[in-house]
């Protein structure tokens, strides 16, 4: 009995996305589960770029899957399901950023001791500080949290995920010129935030 169940599960997993989607649209809700299993790691990785707390990440991913399920009849299959899903994930993350917009006025005094040490090390000898240090990662996180939602989204997609402007336009639904304008503004906003973080100590 258990073996039969396992065999059924493997048959479902082996089905292509198109077959699974067709089955879901035909009323077989269980066929949605293999899609959730297959693509959840990517959705989680995306959500973790924008939300720090794990409970928030899970909320975002649940929201993405809920939207995907309810909007599935609108999926035309012109692009791979993964692209369609990732567009939804990025837009959900952007909505999350806008809903949880916090104006964080971080300054050098707010930094933790390891972060301050890393910055001081960078000022003294930029080549000698490690990029692998937790402090550097925390500093990046702090910096990204200070950015406005569009700036954070565009910096993440363009500078961190190395996506092209055209890809970002497709993911976000913004026009190409708008992405370029927002990227320009985002870089300048990021420099402003860095200046704010460091000004008390170095400027």
């Amino acid at each position: 009995m258990a073996e039969t169940g396992l065999m059924e599960a493997s048959v479902i997993v082996d089905k292509s996305d198109a077959e699974l989607i067709a089955a879901v649209l035909g009323g077989d809700m269980a066929s949605f589960e293999p899609l959730v299993v297959k693509y959840s790691p990517r959705v989680f990785a995306t959500a973790r770029r924008y939300a720090r707390r794990e409970s928030e990440v899970e909320d975002i991913v649940q929201e993405v899957w809920s939207k995907a399920f309810h909007k599935l009849p609108g999926f035309r299959g012109e692009a791979p399901f993964e692209h369609w899903l990732m567009r939804m994930a990025v837009r959900t993350c952007y909505d999350f950023l806008r809903e949880h917009q916090r104006k964080k006025e971080s300054s050098f005094t707010d930094l933790t001791q390891p972060e301050s040490d890393w910055l001081e090390g960078f000022v003294r000898a930029p080549d000698q500080v490690s990029d692998e240090a937790d402090a550097a990662r925390q500093l990046v996180g702090r910096l990204l949290e200070m950015l406005s939602p569009p700036a954070r989204l565009v910096i993440t997609l363009l500078e961190i995920e190395d996506r092209s402007v055209k890809e970002i336009a497709e993911l976000t639904g913004w026009s190409v010129p708008l992405v370029k304008v927002r990227a320009f503004r985002a870089r300048s906003e990021m420099r402003k935030c860095l200046r704010r973080i460091t000004k008390e100590k170095y400027v």
Binding site: V36, S40, F44, W65, D131, I160, M190, Y202
Partner: protein, 99 residues
């Protein structure tokens, strides 16, 4: 401090440290259970919709009555509302004269 250099360095740090893609245990079961739940009736939504519909209907009636009332003056120059008032008050007038 060279802010541009610091910015590049921090972005490089972020690039080199992508977030994890771990999925919580049996997360797909949670999603399927959530999707399988019957949609809860949005009571407050229905209530507010009903209120708006009621308000719209009342506004429509008020506008119609506003248009219709001036047009219903009789030859004596008595308006519809005055006519209604006279009719309603007629019984109390009769009562006064009876005393």
């Amino acid at each position: 401090m060279n802010l541009t250099e610091l910015q590049k360095r921090l972005l490089a740090v972020a690039r080199r440290n992508p977030p994890g893609d771990a999925v919580p245990y049996r997360f797909e079961r949670r999603i399927m259970a959530r999707l399988g739940e019957a949609p809860q009736p949005a009571i407050w939504l229905a209530w507010s919709r009903a209120l708006w519909l009621g308000a719209a209907a009342c506004t429509l009636v008020a506008i119609c009555a506003g248009v219709w009332a001036p047009a219903t003056r009789d030859d004596n120059g008595t308006s519809f509302s005055e006519g209604i008032e006279q009719t309603i008050m007629a019984s109390s007038d009769d009562l006064d004269s009876a005393w």
